[in-house]
């Protein structure tokens, strides 16, 4: 049969002799200086002698998986020693045995992981994955063209925005926001009928041309060239875009709620450099380092003590709700519940068929 029958075994580790790491990550997800280099990574290299090739290879969980799945199934190198992927995808990889178990002894700083993320259903005990950053999916808008801003997903369906609305190709974010808008608790028990109602709404907005752009992280290009005026986006990206292009966009988590998620480090089964990666994870779990990254990317850091470290850098940073959300902010954020294999296939197909215009 095709795909994932026998579980592949991990590659032999060469970390001791080969001081390199290849890291695949999303765009706008690490600190960059004006010269285009990554300060925290450079510091890591200085500290450990391990050189990191950082590639913004992930645009969308699905397309990334599509690119590497065959290699994973064969237990072969995918061209990366570490990748940061979203909870549900990490769950799939773990189910299929495509990841390597992490040696917590090599990651003493793991003790800094915030308690709420220490045990997750897709990876009990965090034996295979460690969070990198988390964030919200909410709404962003072009403040020059739309000065009034947005407080709900329904406002995106305003006819005056026809064709200028973007949503994420990440099913859990787009559908999550719509379901929340329709009053569904996405973390709780819901089923086909709730999902179906949301899909119908989404389908309608795509079919009538209201929604034109459905993308992964590439949505930022559409915001910049103004094909998209308002969109469902990921929280931290907007801050970074504003930094680069002038304070052009607003961002809000809708009143009825946004999604909350994490992207996690995993070591693909074919990587021979797990130990190096463990050192990298350990490094980023230093609260000071975490704070430095957070200050740049504006995503939620999973590292306890980072807030304190941030306070030292800039008090305003520590109060940024996007990075260090307080309970009232978190009350609006919901985690999309874990789907089983059949659900994943079915809901994925439903969502995908809308992207394909069927």
């Amino acid at each position: 049969s095709t795909g994932g029958a026998a579980k592949p075994s991990a590659a032999a580790d060469v970390s001791d002799s080969d001081k390199t790491i290849r890291w695949d990550n999303w765009a706008l997800y690490i600190d960059v200086d004006d010269a285009g280099s990554y300060p925290t990574l450079e510091a890591f290299t200085a500290e450990t002698g391990i050189k990191v090739a950082y590639t913004e290879a992930v645009d969308d969980n699905n397309t990334y998986y599509g690119k590497v799945k065959d290699q994973l199934a064969l237990g072969k190198d995918i061209g990366a020693d570490v990748a940061c992927l979203t909870d549900w995808m990490v769950g799939r990889l773990i189910r299929f045995g495509y990841t390597q178990g992490l040696d917590h002894a090599n990651i003493p700083n793991l003790s800094n992981l915030v308690p709420s993320l220490k045990d997750v259903d897709f990876d009990p005990g965090r034996s295979m994955s460690v969070p990198w950053q988390g964030g919200f999916a909410g709404i962003a808008w072009n403040k020059e063209k739309l000065p009034n801003g947005f407080t709900s997903v329904s406002e995106l369906w305003d006819p005056s925005l026809k064709g200028r609305v973007g949503v994420l190709s990440e099913m859990r974010d787009t559908m999550g926001l719509i379901m929340l808008d329709q009053g569904v608790d996405i973390s709780g028990k819901w089923g086909d009928s709730e999902f179906g109602a949301a899909i119908d709404e989404f389908k309608k907005q795509v079919a009538n041309g209201q929604v034109r752009n459905i993308k992964g992280n590439a949505y930022k290009e559409d915001l910049v060239n103004e094909d998209t005026l308002a969109a469902i986006v990921w929280s931290g990206d907007i801050v970074q875009l504003n930094a680069e292009n002038g304070d052009k966009w607003g961002f809000a988590v809708p009143e009825k709620g946004g999604t909350l998620w994490n992207d996690n480090f995993i070591v693909p089964i074919g990587s021979p450099r797990k130990k190096n990666v463990e050192k990298l994870i350990n490094y980023y779990y230093e609260p000071e380092v975490a704070a430095e990254v957070a200050a740049y990317v504006n995503y939620i850091t999973p590292v306890a003590g980072a807030k304190e470290a941030a306070m030292a850098i800039d008090p305003e940073l520590a109060n940024n709700q996007l990075i260090f959300p307080d309970d009232s902010t978190l009350a609006k954020a919901h985690v999309f519940r874990t789907l089983d294999g059949t659900e994943e296939q079915k809901y994925g197909a439903d969502f995908q068929s809308i992207l394909l215009g069927a």
């Binding site: 095709t2 799945k69 026809k162 041309g209 993308k215 215009g357």
Partner: protein, 304 residues
């Protein structure tokens, strides 16, 4: 030049009497074996995959061998609009490319004969796009046609485009992209036939009372038929299977997805290999049938 490939090889005057010889086998063997190995067997395994069924208690992307012809029914029911759309887009792009390329090829191949330097210069410009990645060129169009671009704002200014209309993400942009990307494939075979067009036929026609328009319709067009056939095939076939132009990251939107995008999504995102395979087989069969009919009707069977 490379575009000799696009010239149809019309029957040559009596080549040497063909011999039977073991040498022929030796010459054929490596290439044929190669194609069997890396073209034919993949096709066969694609065919086998297209009949697979989801594994019992299997996770996403897990299938077992079966003879599940229902796959074909399913993909046709789900995706018939994409199949139709693909061929419609490919057809539109082919026609547009032909309309654009014919005058261009005629100019280079016939009008410019008197100025060989101009001729070769224009030819270079036609093949030039081959050397710059088509992805980059398409992305350039995506920017050039974006909502706030010069093109769109001017079109709106002169009311050729409704104020709330846009180009990227629409079928128009996809067809435009396909047309643009395949113009060289259309122009070159046209050029190679038109370049060899014997002008004496045109003179004979005008000597026989044919108005310039009749000369074109009755003589020039039929005589350039081999080029038209080669060009349209080289445009139509890849255009029908293309998924880059229609990709949402390039020029397409949800309402302009083609069958290539569906195959890609099923293969890489939904991990529905049987559906992807079934769609591939359908796409290929339909193309073969269309090509067969077309070539037969155009009377240029000597294509390979």
């Amino acid at each position: 030049m490379a575009f000799a490939a696009f010239a149809t090889t019309t029957a040559q005057a009596d080549p040497a009497p063909r011999r039977r010889s073991p040498v022929a086998l030796l010459l054929l063997l490596p290439g044929i074996l190669y194609l069997v190995l890396f073209f034919l067997t993949p096709l066969v395994s694609l065919l086998i995959t297209s009949f697979q069924a989801p594994a019992e208690f299997g996770d996403i992307g897990q299938y077992t061998y079966a003879f599940n012809w229902q796959n074909y029914v399913d993909v046709v029911t789900d995706y018939w609009p994409h199949i139709v759309r693909s061929f419609a887009f490919a057809l539109a792009a082919t026609v547009l490319a032909l309309l654009f390329s014919y005058p261009l090829a005629y100019f280079i191949g016939v009008t410019a004969r008197r100025w060989p330097l101009l001729q070769s210069l224009m030819l270079v410009l036609v093949i030039a796009p081959f050397f710059i990645s088509f992805l980059l060129r398409t992305l350039a169009w995506k920017q050039l046609l974006s909502d706030e671009s010069f093109v769109v704002t001017s079109l709106k200014a002169v009311s050729l485009l409704a104020p709330d209309a846009h180009l990227t993400g629409t079928p128009i942009a996809v067809i435009f992209g396909l047309t643009y990307n395949f113009i060289p494939f259309m122009t070159l075979p046209l050029y190679t036939t038109l370049e060899r067009l014997d002008l004496r036929y045109l003179e004979a026609a005008s000597d026989l009372y044919a108005h310039p328009f009749d000369v074109f319709r009755k003589v020039t067009i039929p005589l350039s038929m081999p080029g038209i056939v080669a060009g349209t095939l080289l445009t139509f076939i890849p255009a029908a299977g293309d998924y880059v132009n229609a990709s949402r990251d390039f020029l397409g939107g949800p309402d302009s997805q083609m069958i290539g995008n569906v195959i890609e999504a099923n293969f890489l995102v939904l991990l529905n290999y049987p559906a992807a395979a079934a769609l591939s087989i359908i796409l290929m069969s339909v193309i073969l049938v269309i090509v067969g009919i077309y070539v037969k009707r155009a009377g240029t069977e000597e294509l390979l």
